[in-house]
């Protein structure tokens, strides 16, 4: 399969409430920045555009239609949208390039989650007859998953607190982070529980923001003459929606996706994992077979700021940044969707 190059990436600051800023105003600044990185003018200078967003976050049907106003889509452009995290928009874009219908693609994701009650909005992702009518929120679902891990002795509360501590400390070096600080595992454990066994710090914050990326063929990357990294593998897998039929201590779909993406083919220097809850990072590390040689979530991950519908794309972008900075040669990025890691995407990014 043809390798595809990442040539530009930018993410807005993750903030708890971006305030007077609509979809277009959220998207335009990140697009402007990726255009600047390549020295291009607008979406006319790429062959395909694909975005990821979710209408229910801000409570308006067709929220993504407004996004098109940010693109400069006159004359008309080749454009598509997934009602998913933009990591899946990247997946769609890669197919477009691989079928020879595009040399380059702009991908963006955006989410303004602050207007609604996110965990309750997400409860309406669940089975509409058995679960959604109970208003079973996303945090409570994750809490039940965490308890299964704790009961099974697979992890301890300290393990979870250490994930949080590492996230907050790593985030100190991430200017886009919403939550950062020199916090120890003991500090976290001293917090009272929120939705037991989870503490607030175990849960990703609610954030507003956007991110954007440009990918292209290797030939096009050379033509643009910018530093680039290569996507050498990508795969994503779904699991059953019935939580009771899944092994919640593991992520089978992540294992399958990692296998499909070829994670095991080499050393993994860096991994950016979309784990909205601390215990899920531990599940993912195990499912991906990561060891001590891998730096996990050097950005702080989504516990430091979670841009719904963009966080998955941002994980890929964070790995890209490490490779371009020379801090890593090979990394993996993970994206997730659905309750308790139901749907997972794994990308392998390597130095060109």
């Amino acid at each position: 399969m043809t390798d595809i190059a990442i040539v530009a990436y930018h993410q807005s600051k993750a903030v708890s409430d971006v305030g007077a800023c609509n979809e277009v105003e959220l998207i335009m600044p990140v697009l402007t920045e990726v255009y600047r990185q390549l020295g291009i003018a607008n979406a006319q200078d790429v062959d395909f555009v694909c975005s990821g967003s979710c209408d229910y976050l801000q409570g308006a049907a067709f929220a993504f239609v407004a996004g098109v106003d940010a693109l400069g889509a006159v004359p008309p452009i080749r454009e598509s949208h997934v009602e998913m995290d933009a990591a899946w928009a990247l997946y769609e874009s890669m197919l477009k390039i691989r079928m020879g219908h595009a040399e380059s693609a702009l991908i963006y994701g955006f989410g303004k989650s602050s207007p609604g009650e996110l965990p309750i909005v997400l409860s309406q992702q669940l089975d509409p007859y058995y679960l959604a009518p109970l208003w079973l929120d996303s945090i409570s679902l994750a809490a039940m998953q965490a308890r299964i891990l704790l009961d099974a002795g697979r992890i301890s509360e300290r393990d979870m607190a250490e994930v949080v501590s590492r996230s907050r400390r790593n985030a100190l070096a991430n200017p886009n982070a919403q939550l950062a600080g020199d916090i120890s595992a003991d500090d976290v454990l001293a917090e009272e529980t929120y939705v037991s066994p989870l503490r607030r710090a175990d849960c990703a914050p609610v954030s507003d923001g956007a991110s954007a990326m440009i990918i292209c063929t290797v030939e096009k990357a050379r033509e643009w003459g910018v530093p680039y990294a290569l996507i050498t593998g990508i795969d994503h897998r779904m699991e059953t929606h019935n939580l009771g039929m899944r092994d919640l201590t593991d992520s089978r779909s992540t294992r399958l996706a990692a296998e499909g993406a070829g994670v095991g083919a080499g050393k993994v220097d860096v991994a950016e994992l979309y784990a909205p809850f601390s215990h899920q990072e531990l599940i993912l590390i195990r499912a991906l077979g990561l060891g001590d040689e891998t730096s996990v979530n050097p950005s702080g991950g989504v516990l430091a700021g979670n841009l719904m519908m963009a966080s998955g794309l941002s994980r890929i972008g964070e790995v890209f940044n490490r490779i371009i900075a020379g801090e890593a040669e090979r990394g993996i990025a993970h994206a997730t969707s659905g309750p308790c890691l139901q749907h997972n995407l794994v990308t392998v990014v390597e130095k060109a």
């Binding site: 229910y56 409570g59 239609v65």
Partner: protein, 388 residues
């Protein structure tokens, strides 16, 4: 680099109706999927990935419904992707599904699009005002009626061109047992006397609101060649988008539609669509959009689309040379999220010679078309009985 060859090897639809009382959302989607698998003589294990599409989640009130539909579509352990490009989504979803195969990444995928509109009220879902909204929302008809009026002014079309389309498509639909509206005895007079909803759009010139789903199996060249029933080879694929509003936008004849058609024709080697294509399934939710799209898609010179309609060129019953919407089209059945895929699938049925009583005799090359938003998102494909 050339795209790999891909073909439709299985098609499944539900019967379209106002409300499917007898199935859950999963049951509706599943029915189309199973029909497509049966048509392809395949089982769930033969499917490598599933690509699903529908219009806004608010129609059914299920957020990102692929999460819940994973089991109904046999997705456990497989890739599953959800597309949403407004009203064009059924077409876009088919194109994204095709790209899974055309990119060489997958050998055989299932794609499904649906809408169970009866769970809510589409009008409500499309009109929910956000605070400080500066738009006066009069529904889809309220949005498109002024554009139709401008077309009528520009083209000087006779007032009854829309009425003619409304009758023609309902007569086509009467040949299609899956069509929602069954009106074999419809007359021009009946349409003309029907209630004027959004002047110049009369009740019978507008589409119904339907429940329904449509599915296709798309396979690579090797598998398609071995398929038990004739494949519909995908000869061209194109998408275009433009903003809803910009100064100087031609809303009557949007450039995105013209460009998209030009792109898909170039791939399929079509220089004169009226001559080269045998039929077309085109997204016509309000009758006047037939003459408008005849021009936009290059079947007629600008200002003359209505002449084809009035001459019967697009009618099966009048022996027209380029039947449009032999299935009855969106004017007969409109499960919004599925409507685009139904157009794509019906085009494929024609070139597979499998369209029953609405078969266009000897059809070898057909266009499937979908549009959405403020007539700003376009998705099209050309399918053929031959690889090309």
């Amino acid at each position: 680099m050339m795209a790999n060859l891909a073909a439709v090897v299985g098609i499944g639809q539900t019967k379209y109706t106002t409300k499917r009382h007898d199935v859950s959302i999963a049951g509706l989607v599943r029915e189309a999927a199973v029909n497509a698998l049966e048509d392809a003589q395949l089982s769930w294990d033969d499917i490598d990935a599933v690509i699903i599409g529908k219009a806004p989640d608010m129609f059914e009130g299920v957020v990102m419904p692929e999460i819940y539909l994973a089991d109904a579509l046999g997705c456990n352990g497989k890739p599953m992707l959800r597309v949403h490009t407004a009203g064009s989504v059924g077409g876009s979803t088919a194109l994204v599904a095709a790209s899974h195969v055309q990119s060489g990444s997958f050998r055989r995928v299932l794609t499904v699009a649906y809408e169970k509109q009866s769970e809510s009220n589409a009008m409500w879902a499309l009109s929910t005002p956000q605070p400080f909204s500066t738009h006066l929302n009069a529904g889809a008809g309220g949005y498109f009626a002024p554009i139709i009026r401008e077309y009528m002014r520009r083209s000087g079309a006779p007032y009854d061109a829309g009425i003619k389309v409304a009758v023609k498509d309902r007569l086509h639909g009467a040949r299609n047992p899956l069509a929602h509206l069954q009106k074999p005895d419809i007359t021009m007079k009946e349409v003309e006397e029907s209630f004027m909803l959004w002047d110049p759009i009369r009740f019978l010139e507008a589409c119904p609101s339907s429940d329904g789903a449509c599915a296709m199996v798309i396979a690579d060249e090797g598998l398609a060649e071995q398929a038990p029933r004739p494949p519909a080879w995908i000869r061209g694929v194109a998408m275009r988008s433009e903003p809803t509003m910009y100064a100087g936008r031609d809303e009557v004849n949007p450039q995105a539609g013209r460009d998209c058609a030009g792109d898909v024709y170039r791939q399929a080697g079509i220089s004169d669509p009226r001559r080269d294509l045998d039929c077309a399934e085109v997204y016509v939710p309000f009758s006047w959009y037939e003459p408008m799209w005849l021009e936009n898609l290059g079947f007629a010179p600008e200002g003359e689309g209505w002449k084809l309609t009035m001459d019967g060129a697009t009618s099966l019953d009048e022996g027209g040379d380029i039947p449009w919407n032999p299935s009855g089209g969106v004017l007969c059945s409109n499960p919004i999220g599925a409507s685009g895929m139904i157009r794509f699938a019906e085009a494929a049925r024609q070139v597979r010679g499998d369209a029953g009583d609405h078969q266009v005799e000897g059809a070898r090359l057909a266009l499937g078309h979908a549009y959405g938003g403020g007539a700003q998102f376009f998705a099209m494909w050309v399918v053929g009985a031959d690889k090309g």
